[in-house]
């Protein structure tokens, strides 16, 4: 290692996935800047070698480039499951550690890779969590029971949506829930109004959605235009915890539930350290990015990079695959030790973070509020069943 610790960063920064990719990058950046201001990592300044991977087509090449040409010893990526699949393949073969911060597809870590660590929970836990949350928390609010509720599942048809959808499906099925409809579609769609019509016919009580931002916006707006009334709606992170989604819907965003991750949690549920970082994260984010408020994806990116820079690398002491791996496996931080509420403990088998879990939010007053689990909740579930359109301003 020279005078700087060079980390490979692999994210979709252009193309259709760019929006959240740039969110994550801001999180990475902030974690690095703060670390560097605090004196760096292992006595060196940290530095990124960033590659733009608009889709998984470029992932293999760019990961190869990071490793063989830029000689990075560590790659941080990628947020989208497809990209993660392809890029981690390369890292594994070249014996370079790859930290996946936000891609959820279960199979990413079921390939037996030795150098791949994942911070976030897998899709089955996300979708399953959303379903469980629906069963446990939402049904009582809307006065239904697993046996008599009608649920519809709608998800985009790439890795992310289908994996989450399957997770939800499984839990609902086990609980004996009547899944009245299960549909997937391409997130590049320009019209979802027929789906809305279908729901108007089927009259589901709850919608469980897994969408990216544009199709998420489109769907909820078209639901409003067609006057689709459901008792509750639960999203899964791609659209439903994103600020752009709220901007697009105005007051009608209120009441929407989301399963995912949040940086609008109760910091009193965090460890002291984490709570301090939490505050710093929010303040610095607003200060450094033109008053912009951080998003969930920025939070996850920040958390992953922060953990790597603050805990794993110092633990490793050097930038070598072996050392980083050992340090990662040795890391043991309790739940509540990160700004998103998680802890960090990688499963020695799958190398998934066993202390990550979805949190559950609701839009209230056009802000996202965590409503579960209790430790980090800052608000209660409100206004279920959803009041009719136009009446949601007061939620």
């Amino acid at each position: 290692a020279g005078d700087a610790a060079r980390l490979g960063v692999l994210l979709p920064l252009s193309g259709p996935l760019a929006s959240l990719g740039n969110d994550v990058l801001r999180g990475f950046q902030l974690a690095m800047d703060l670390t560097n201001e605090d004196g760096g990592v292992m006595g060196q300044q940290a530095e990124f070698v960033t590659v733009d991977v608009p889709s998984s087509t470029e992932a293999t090449s760019q990961a190869t480039r990071l490793i063989t040409s830029e000689n990075v010893d560590l790659i941080m990526g990628s947020y989208a499951s497809s990209i993660s699949f392809a890029a981690s393949q390369v890292a594994e073969r070249n014996k370079v550690v790859y930290f996946e911060q936000g891609a959820v597809a279960d199979d990413i870590t079921s390939r037996g890779f030795k150098n791949l660590f994942r911070f976030i929970y897998p899709a089955s836990e996300l979708g399953g969590g959303a379903a469980q949350f629906t069963l446990d928390k939402v049904l009582p609010e809307i006065g239904k029971e697993a046996g008599d509720v009608k649920v519809a599942l709608l998800y985009e048809d790439s890795f992310y949506g289908t994996a989450v959808g399957e997770g939800a499906h499984k839990v609902l099925e086990e609980a004996g829930v009547n899944i009245v409809d299960e549909t997937s579609y391409s997130y590049k769609t320009t019209d979802l109004s027929p789906m809305v019509q279908r729901y108007k016919q089927l009259e589901p009580d709850v919608l469980i959605l897994c969408q990216y931002t544009p199709d998420g916006i489109l769907f909820w707006r078209q639901a409003r235009e067609a006057g689709l009334e459901v008792k509750a709606v639960v999203g899964n992170g791609g659209a439903h915890n994103v600020g752009d989604f709220a901007d697009a819907l105005g007051d009608d965003v209120n009441g929407v539930l989301n399963a995912g991750t949040s940086v609008y949690i109760d910091k009193n549920g965090l460890t002291e350290d984490a709570a301090a970082t939490f505050t710093r994260f929010h303040e610095e984010h607003v200060a450094r990015f033109d008053g912009r408020k951080p998003s969930a994806h920025t939070g996850m990116g920040f958390n992953a990079m922060w953990t790597v820079l603050q805990d794993i690398l110092p633990g490793a002491g050097e930038l070598s695959t072996e050392a980083i791996r050992d340090a990662a496996l040795a890391l043991d931080k309790p739940v509540g030790s990160s700004i998103v509420g998680w802890g960090t403990k990688f499963d020695p088998e799958t190398q998934n973070n066993t202390r990550a879990f979805p949190t559950y939010d609701q839009w209230q007053g056009k802000e996202i509020h965590t409503v579960a689990p209790e430790e980090v909740a800052i608000s209660e579930i409100k206004a279920l069943p959803l009041p009719t359109w136009g009446q949601r301003g007061s939620i």
Partner: protein, 294 residues
């Protein structure tokens, strides 16, 4: 029954939007024989224009559309003058890659300038986003966009059929040299055509943004649809574009009801099948599909 009609109505509205989004492509396609792969990006710029106008000045894109039309007319002329002028005599593949290069450049320029965020506007006050007519729910913004489409189609048709410039455009589309010999200033015609094509596309983008969203690669969501509409309807046929748009809107509506994951495939398969039986498209002039470009 209500459902069948509701799907019909929303399909027609959507179809109008598609037709409008495709019209500019067909104009340029028809006259200059150029497949503009950057079409989606001009649409995207139109969307940003609509968004910017609304957020900066508070004027909604509907009232602002004349302004956007003028700005994009000029942009279209610049597009011709600075870029496409050099490819008029080249092979179609050269043109494809010139416009593709432009598409990549514009998409990413937007990313650099406007960031990757999804931008939306609300033109209607809360609660006015939908109209209820005889029990049908209609998106107010789509209805407005649809009327824009009708007006613009009517205007373009009048312009092409009834004005000398319009006819000159058609002449240029069929034989450039002969058109010159008829005293037609072909450069001017190309400028007008590109101005018109991009101008319409800009307005289309601006009136679409209220019911969609602007972000740098939104053009890629629409460009293939626009291609399908144009070819389905027929090269160089304005009416065909409208019919192509409406058919696609209706397909989306009905197929989308039963199986949204198949609707895009349906577009493409329909396109291939139609071309197999009627290669010139529904209203295209027979033989146009055989036009060997070079």
């Amino acid at each position: 029954m209500q459902l069948v009609f509701q799907l019909l109505v929303s399909g027609v509205l959507l179809g109008g939007v598609y037709a409008l989004a495709a019209l500019g492509l067909n104009l340029i396609f028809g006259v200059a024989k150029i497949v503009n792969f950057a079409h989606g990006e001009f649409l995207m710029l139109g969307m940003y224009a609509g968004f910017g106008l609304m957020t900066l000045t508070g004027i909604n894109p509907y009232w602002g559309s004349p302004l956007i039309a003028v700005a994009f007319f000029v942009l279209g002329m610049a597009f011709y003058w600075c870029v496409m002028r050099f490819t008029i005599y080249s092979t179609e593949l050269t043109q494809v890659f010139t416009t593709l290069g432009l598409s990549i450049a514009l998409q990413n320029l937007a990313l650099v300038l406007f960031s990757a965020d999804y931008r939306t506007i609300q033109t209607m006050p809360e609660g006015m986003s939908s109209l209820q007519v005889m029990g049908f729910h209609l998106s107010t913004d789509r209805v407005i966009a649809f009327f824009f489409a009708l007006a613009i189609f009517g205007g373009v048709m009048f312009f092409l059929r009834r004005t000398y410039t319009g006819r000159a455009i058609e002449a240029v589309s069929q034989d450039l040299t002969a058109a010159r010999l008829m005293g037609i200033n072909t450069r001017k015609i190309f400028l007008i055509t590109f101005g018109l094509g991009i101008g319409i596309t800009g307005v289309a983008g601006a009136v679409l943004v209220p019911s969609f969203y602007a972000f740098p690669s939104v053009g890629t969501f629409f460009v293939l649809i626009a291609f399908v509409v144009v070819i389905l309807g027929g090269l160089g046929s304005v009416t065909g574009t409208m019919i192509g748009g409406l058919s696609l809107g209706l397909i989306e509506s009905y197929i989308g009801y039963f199986s949204p994951d198949l609707k895009e495939a349906t577009h493409f398969i329909l396109l291939i099948l139609l071309l197999a039986v009627r290669p010139q498209g529904m209203l295209g002039v027979k033989g146009a599909e055989k036009e060997t470009l070079k």
